[in-house]
Amino acid sequence: MVLNNIEDLLEKYENGETTLKEEQQLKHYFSQETVAPHLEMYKPMFTYFLGNQQEQFTKDLPLKTKRTFNYKWISVAAVVVLMLGFYLKEPIVTSYEEYAYGTFNKPEKALDEVTKSLAMISSHFNKGTSTVNYLNEVKKGTATLGYLNEIENTTSIIFKN
């Protein structure tokens, strides 16, 4: 490279008028082993610039993905729960037959069925009361024990005297 050229560039460089490309040229020139002796003092400057470009940031970055809880979802969940509640409260009706289970179309038949079921209830009821009959025996027993009172009466008369 022509030395004149470098000197021109250096002058422009000091005035801040060089382009990036020209500065590259300068850096390249001064990275050589031998430099014109009267330009020697520029060498460390450009070496420094070049050397400094290599420095790297090595510390690792603790990037935390922020887990912000979205409160919108709470209301969504609440609505879902409510809807489910209403849905399950209603009897699930699938067909008319099922819905109509236990009802009668004709009133006579209904009366028939009611009397039948009431008769059944009363017969069972009677069966239940008949088993309680033995309680009457107990009552009879206590009545016969009444004579003990008589004995007590007589003993009290005796001790009085």
Binding site: Y13, E14, N15, G16, E17, L20, E23, Q24, E40, M41, Y42, K43, P44, M45, T47, Y48, F49, G51, N52, Q53, E55, Q56, F57, K59, L61, P62, L63, T65, K66
Partner: protein, 169 residues
């Protein structure tokens, strides 16, 4: 935006952010913290990120402002950032000694520059940004950037010439 997408956007310029932070804050640890802070801020505002035209330029501006704030608060507390950048010997000792001597001078000289010039030198000479981009990042006009850059470069050259000729002239 997922983590992977975010990293894909951020990866290409995270080193630039770090280097700018280091230029201003000097200490590696401080610069790492600052970079982390800036990138995490970006991550937390990732929803807005799609609106930015140029995420890189935006992050550089953010970094610059963040570091200035930090420096201001340090000054107010009357504390100086202590930097002890312990380098492990990846490069051979010989090379380090060689480089350190002259190249360290440059870093020291840049350290002494006013903050605005420091940023401009960093963005132009190290990160090789366009003047227009730098102007946008720093919220200055194009000529102001050039003037500042020229001043900074001249200062560096003068001081280097002095040290270079030290003991000779």
């Amino acid at each position: 935006m997922t983590q992977v997408e975010f990293l894909n956007i951020v990866m290409p310029f995270k080193d630039k952010v770090f280097r700018l932070a280091k230029r201003l804050l000097v200490s590696t640890e401080e610069a790492e913290d600052a970079t982390q802070e800036v990138l995490l801020k970006l991550w937390n505002n990732k929803k807005k990120m799609q609106e930015y035209k140029n995420v890189e330029a935006f992050s550089m501006t953010m970094t610059k402002n963040f570091c200035f704030d930090k420096l201001k608060s340090k000054q107010a507390q009357n504390l100086k950032i202590v930097h002890s950048n312990y380098e492990d010997g990846n490069t051979s000792l010989q090379k380090q000694v060689e480089l350190n001597d002259s190249v360290d001078w440059v870093s020291k000289i840049i350290e002494e520059l006013p903050e605005q010039q420091k940023v401009i030198i960093q963005l132009r000479d190290i990160e090789e940004y366009d003047f227009d981009e730098i102007a946008k990042m720093l919220d200055m006009n194009n000529t102001a950037v050039r003037v500042n850059l020229s001043r900074a470069r001249k200062t560096i050259r003068e001081k280097l010439t002095n040290t270079h000729n030290y003991g000779i002239k």
